[in-house]
């Protein structure tokens, strides 16, 4: 066999070399162990100082179905998904045709020699490499050989595009936690493959990586790990969860880190408990029980679990029990696409429960915000004595992101209004669980174990008066609901404000600001929330390059803070960009601000994959064009 196949005639230096600005997609079989290889490439690039992101597009399956991993290198630091793949590595015969078709013109296609299929494209470079030879010739025991075999494409790719071998070693060292044997075994296969490529493949000059200084001061992690750590630094006591993709790694991260971080140093005793419940009903039930008893309690789930938690969400709201629920969203309705991302739970979660129920929603837009909202959610829940739902998603939660180092909470825990024995002793009035003493709708609560004779109260989901007595009296009911409404109306001040990026704040127009002149908002406002942020950042940069400056607002909580309205008002057209079919945030905004409805347009799309900058720019242009024609 000769390498490359058929490419001898193809001109290899027919285009400018693209350095550190392209995407690599690897197509493999699920469960084949390719994730270690993919993460090794990702981390090696990061180690070389190249901004990178990695996105796993995987099936709902344990073993056998096609799965793809895309690594984007971006010298400009754009980390959103792209629709174009310059380099594609095919390891799975079943997805070979599809993989071949996705290589962008002028790109590179690499495939293993275990795939005996023809290539019918002449606009790309095509190489075949031995898929199993290096693993076979290594010292890998037979049961590990298939896993190690995936390192072959790491070595071939490294040689072809110039990935630094020391960076690869560092990536393996991290992955295998310093264990010499697996590191050396895998590194050996990578070296052998790289050597083979040097000797057998004609060098190409189209796509290269070079060391740069773009990752200093960054770490690599995922949103679920960040959320778990944030919760731990927020003092979480009790975690009750039920496995569900894509939230499982949040519960598992808590179970992994809590024993390391939350043992009493003197006694070795635990200051936490993690319970894997029998279902989501029990998971939130335990969370509600724990929240009632004064613990910082958390459950993590995804859409189907949220549906099951509905009844308890209403009970927690009405009994005013603080809990934190993480919803790592996936594609619904129903079982939907369990391994694809979405922002489709916004509307249903905001109003989760029957009757007049509304909840606090936090919307993290980055891994760092997953950490920050991880601890802040407890402060908000306990101050407001109500459930807090944090809506992350599969892309944010499970994919590997560059992030800033986690920042230690900059304020002490805020446990809200709690009376212990001494407080009750010093009271001049009779304590009642639901008395609106401060006028802000937030009452004082006591916790089980409080030994003061007046401390006890009976929590119930039935109608109750200020002293928790059962009542069916219409006046009692209305008074209580009005207090709850007041509490909710006061809630925004406790919630994170939107993040603004205004065109006049950018360096280009910074001078205007310094001169003291009043900058004008752009005509177009871009409004978003959550994990679409990197795609929006990139889209806005592209639009600005085309001469279309935009201001942006990223909403981080519901109910809306007053700044949301101000932004909408000051922009002639606000494009609400979101990953769901119905434009749920768009609807919520028009419901909240009906008088501004004409200024808010919806750009909603959800096919299960993270949004791209290209989709945003194309659809925004199309919409603008259509408006001008009208």
């Amino acid at each position: 066999m000769t390498f490359p196949l058929q490419e001898k005639t193809a001109p290899l230096v027919d285009q400018e070399t693209n350095v550190n600005d392209f995407s690599i997609t690897v197509g493999t079989k699920n469960g084949s162990g390719s994730q270690t290889s993919n993460l090794t490439i990702l981390r090696a690039l990061f180690k070389m100082g190249i901004p990178v992101s990695g996105k796993n597009v995987f099936p709902s399956n344990i073993q056998g179905l096609p799965t793809w991993y895309t690594i984007r290198a971006s010298k400009e630091g754009f980390l959103a998904r792209r629709e174009v793949q310059e380099i594609v590595i095919a390891m799975n015969p079943d997805s070979f045709a599809k993989d071949l078709a996705t290589v962008s013109p002028g790109g590179i296609f690499l495939y293993g020699d275990h795939i005996r299929l023809g290539v019918d494209r002449d606009d790309i470079l095509v190489y075949q490499f031995p898929a199993n030879k290096f693993a076979r010739e290594s010292e890998a025991p037979s049961n590990l050989r298939d896993y190690v075999a995936n390192m072959a494409y790491v070595g071939v790719l490294a040689e072809m595009i110039g990935i630094d071998m020391d960076a690869i070693y560092a990536a393996l060292d991290f992955h295998f936690k310093g264990k010499k044997k697996p590191i050396d075994l895998n590194y050996g296969v990578i070296q052998a493959a790289a050597t083979w490529a040097r000797e057998n493949i004609e060098p190409q000059n189209r796509y290269k990586v070079e060391p740069m200084n773009g990752t200093e001061g960054w770490i690599m992690t995922d949103g679920n790990t960040a959320a778990a750590l944030g919760a731990i630094y927020g003092g979480v006591h009790l975690v009750a969860w039920y496995p569900i993709t894509p939230a499982s790694s949040l519960g598992e991260s808590l179970a992994e880190y809590l024993p390391q971080l939350r043992k009493d140093p003197e006694t070795g005793k635990n200051t936490f408990a993690v319970i894997q419940a029998e279902d989501e009903l029990a998971a939130i039930g335990m969370t509600v029980g724990a929240g009632w008893s004064g613990l910082r309690a958390l459950t993590s789930t995804s859409g189907p679990g949220i549906s099951l938690m509905t009844e308890f969400a209403g009970l927690a709201y009405y009994s005013e029990t603080p809990i934190v629920v993480w919803d790592v969203q996936r594609m619904g309705p129903a079982t939907g696409l369990p391994t694809r991302t979405s922002q489709g739970d916004l509307m249903s979660t905001y109003f989760l429960g029957h009757g007049d129920t509304r909840h606090i929603i936090l919307l993290p837009g980055s891994v760092n915000e997953c950490f920050e909202f991880g601890w802040r959610a407890f402060d908000i829940a306990e101050q407001l004595q109500t459930p807090v739902f944090v809506l992350s998603d599969l892309d944010l939660g499970m994919n590997t992101w560059m992030a800033r180092p986690f920042q230690y909470p900059d304020e002490p825990l805020n446990r809200g209004k709690v009376y212990w024995e001494e407080d009750l002793q010093n009271l001049t009035h009779r304590w009642g669980r639901y008395l609106n003493v401060d006028g802000d709708g937030i009452p004082y609560r006591t916790l089980p174990g409080n030994t003061h004779p007046n401390a006890a109260w009976f929590a119930r989901g039935t109608g109750h008066d200020e002293f928790t007595r059962y009542t069916e009296d219409a006046g009692d009911w209305v008074r209580n609901m009005e207090r709850l409404a007041k509490k909710f109306a006061n809630a925004p001040q406790y919630l994170p404000e939107p993040v603004f990026d205004l065109a006049y704040d950018s360096s280009k127009n910074g001078s205007e600001r310094k001169n003291g002149s009043q900058p004008k908002p752009t005509r177009i406002g871009i409004v978003s929330f959550g994990s679409t942020d990197p795609a929006i950042e990139e889209a806005r940069a592209r639009l600005a390059q085309q001469g279309l400056e935009t201001d942006s607002m990223r909403i981080r909580a519901l109910p809306f803070r007053p700044e949301v309205r101000e932004f909408l008002e000051t922009h002639e057209i606000n494009y609400l960009i979101e990953m769901n079919h119905d434009g749920q945030m768009h609807r919520l905004l028009r419901m909240e601000y009906p008088e501004l409805a004409g200024q808010i347009a919806s750009l909603a799309w959800n096919d299960g994959l993270p949004l791209t900058a290209r989709w945003i720019t194309e659809h925004l242009h199309a919409n603008l064009h259509a408006q001008e024609e009208n």
């Binding site: 005793k269 335990m286 613990l295 009844e311 009976f458 059962y470």
Partner: protein
């Protein structure tokens, strides 16, 4: 030891009134009211400080009753069939407190079967008392899963299904304390409640508690008349608290009773009646329950007890200080620890 104590207070200086709750709104004659009274009496006589007890219930007539006892104890009237999960989470707030839960046959054996089984499996340190009357009361008399085959009710017709046996379900799920009684047998109910409170683990009390409004015909298996006639105690049971010297009446002569030691040092003395019965013998318990079901006998007493299993919260190696009283320094790890984590994130 109690010579200086006024006769109307107990060992923690409280009167029986301190253990009462709001007035019951259940029907006059409802079995649930007499059970509530036995809970009050048991806690009072055991010198339990009310703040050391937590009350839990689901939804239904039975689940209303925690309002009618121990008003100085914290309580949570939760969701239909979901009480066990709420109690499980709450038990971690302060693991020194004793949860007492009241449920019904619908709340447990219909909508709540899943959580019932799982709380057995976890061996939560809690009394789980089922007020079992075979019907739904608040929705006006539908069959529950414990209604006997052939039961005929005015608006429902004849029940064609086999009943769920709560004690058997508890046994299968690994419960460590299983007892059955009848609300009309006040002494046995009270002694079983005391033993259940002393047991460190899940303690199931399946108590036939007739619904005088919807299911009290003399031939119905959950009626007063039928239960009185068919109640067959498996032994004569007496709860002996730790503090009492052995003050046995003539019935308890050496060798005539079996003694079961409970975690807090109290004991249950079981006097033999018709048959030899050892409640620490799991297989014998299954056999007794199965035979009673086949023979249409209301077999009452301590069916099964196993004091060797750790309770759920004991598996968690928790700090002596209740979790809900830990200061910030103990629940927020140090700044340095986060720096170490950041160094590892790559």
């Amino acid at each position: 030891m109690s010579t200086n104590r006024p006769s109307n207070v107990n060992g923690v200086g409280l009167s029986k009134n301190d253990y009462r709750g709001a007035n019951s709104t259940l029907c006059a004659g409802c079995g649930h009211n007499s059970i509530a009274n036995q809970i009050i009496a048991a806690c009072y006589e055991m010198d339990l400080a009310p703040e050391t007890v937590l009350k839990f219930s689901g939804i239904g007539c039975s689940s209303k009753s925690p309002t009618y006892f121990l008003s100085r104890s914290f309580g949570f009237n939760s969701l239909h069939g979901r009480m066990p999960s709420v109690a499980t989470g709450a038990a971690f707030g302060n693991h020194h407190l004793k949860p007492l839960a009241v449920s019904g046959d619908g709340d447990t054996a219909n909508i709540g079967m899943g959580q019932f089984k799982h709380v057995m499996r976890r061996n939560l340190n809690m009394m789980y008392l089922v007020e079992n009357n075979g019907v739904y009361g608040l929705t006006k008399g539908q069959f529950s899963a414990t209604a006997e085959e052939g039961l005929t009710l005015k608006s429902q017709g004849r029940n064609p299904l086999k009943p769920v046996d709560i004690c058997q379900e508890a046994m299968v799920s690994g419960a460590t304390f299983v007892a059955r009684s009848f609300a009309g047998d006040a002494k046995q109910v009270k002694d079983l409640i005391k033993a259940a409170i002393s047991h460190k683990g899940i303690a199931v009390l399946d108590i036939v508690s007739p619904c005088v409004t919807f299911n009290d015909n003399a031939d119905a298996h959950h009626s007063y008349a039928w239960s009185k006639e068919h109640e067959t105690p498996i032994h004569d049971l007496t709860y002996v608290p730790l503090r009492d010297e052995i003050l046995l009446d003539n019935g308890f002569e050496e060798g005539t009773y079996q003694e079961v030691a409970l975690h807090d040092g109290s004991r249950v003395l079981l006097k033999k009646l018709e048959r030899d019965y050892d409640p620490t013998h799991r297989w014998a318990a299954f056999q007794a329950l199965e035979e009673a079901a086949n023979d249409n006998i209301l077999l009452t007493g301590l069916i099964y007890v196993d004091s060797s299993r750790p309770s759920f919260t004991e598996l968690y190696n928790l700090t002596e200080t209740p979790l809900n009283r830990l200061p910030e320094a103990q629940i927020r790890p140090s700044r340095e620890s986060l720096a170490r984590i950041n160094d590892l994130m790559f």
